[in-house]
Symmetry: C2
Subunit: 196 residues, 2 copies
């Protein structure tokens, strides 16, 4: 394997979800699909790197500053949904169920990963709340230990401002079969049961 | 999601082993690690695409023509190991157990994938055998239905030249536990049992 290929495999293996074996497989595919895949990808990476920047208001990735969501007058800028990453923001946008704005933390607290409150983007959120522009903060962190710890931390920081704080409901996912649900999900769904 | 990001996700999702969800995750990581990951990857893709070419003799990917393996006088050029892809060649090189040269087919016959003999690079191999430079051809195609079909096809094409044709042994992988082996592997290992 020449140094160019080795460097390519090393970089690809750093991407989330990939290891040395999948990186090698991808490198071979790229090198054998030069015109259709490798050169377009190189060009698109460069173009996206040049054009896309994190929004200074919410942390979303976009080619405009502030991002399209932050300047959209049809969206409720007083309703801020807090997410761990832009991938979570995209998932909520695909669901099309949130009509407010966002705040991207760029991470979640993690004892194992050594992620502390200093590593999260919280200042911008607190500033928006302090400015009085925010009516309600929806905590949409993951339903994992780290995500819940992050939600508790944010609740403590937001409470003094008297803003409404909500979090996503826990329960049986739509389409989920009861017999396949774990104990925690069933217990949460029972606790949060609603009148029919 | 802007058009630059959408194009990046679409291209990433075309890589082997990736789908839309993993492509989005990788796109976010790239866009948030611009200097350390995204720009180096764009540059490395371009550099590798410019420098690396398939070897005209064996099909290996390298920056020299013919490739370093084909011109290495310490390697037995009369012993040719036939592999489906360059990734397989790399795996054999990492094992360090083959001291001959290679021939890369760039695929395997596949009824489902619609891969016919015309889609494989066979001409170069037959030419090398016809030229009398090859003493033995080792068939190192995968032990799958497609790989075995490819090996049978190659055996038919190579037999008329009177060259020695061998294939990799089937058996229990080193480190493998008997109770976890499938029926086919155990049957093959029993058939090919050897005196101690």
């Amino acid at each position: 394997m020449g140094p160019e290929i080795e460097r390519l495999v090393t970089l690809l293996a750093k991407l989330p979800g990939l290891g040395p074996a999948s990186a090698r497989r991808i490198a071979v595919r790229l090198l054998t699909r030069r015109a259709e895949l490798m050169l377009p990808l190189a060009e698109t990476l460069g173009a996206a790197a040049a054009a896309v920047r994190p929004c200074s208001v919410c942390g979303n990735l976009d080619t405009t500053e502030p991002c399209a969501i932050c300047v959209d007058p049809r969206r409720d800028q007083g309703l801020v949904c807090v997410v761990e990453s832009v991938a979570d923001l995209w998932a909520l946008e695909r669901a099309g169920a949130h009509h407010g704005s966002y705040h991207v933390l760029s991470g979640a607290l993690s004892a194992i990963g050594g992620i502390t409150p200093d590593d999260l983007s919280v200042g911008g959120l607190l500033q928006r709340v302090r400015d009085g522009a925010v009516r309600e903060v929806i905590l949409a962190t993951s339903a994992t230990v780290d995500g819940q710890a992050t939600a508790h931390f944010l609740t403590d920081r937001l409470k003094p401002f008297g803003v409404a704080i909500t979090r996503l409901a826990h329960g049986v996912p739509v389409g989920g079969e009861i017999e396949r649900m774990d104990h925690g999900t069933l217990a949460a769904a029972l606790r949060a049961r609603r009148p029919v």
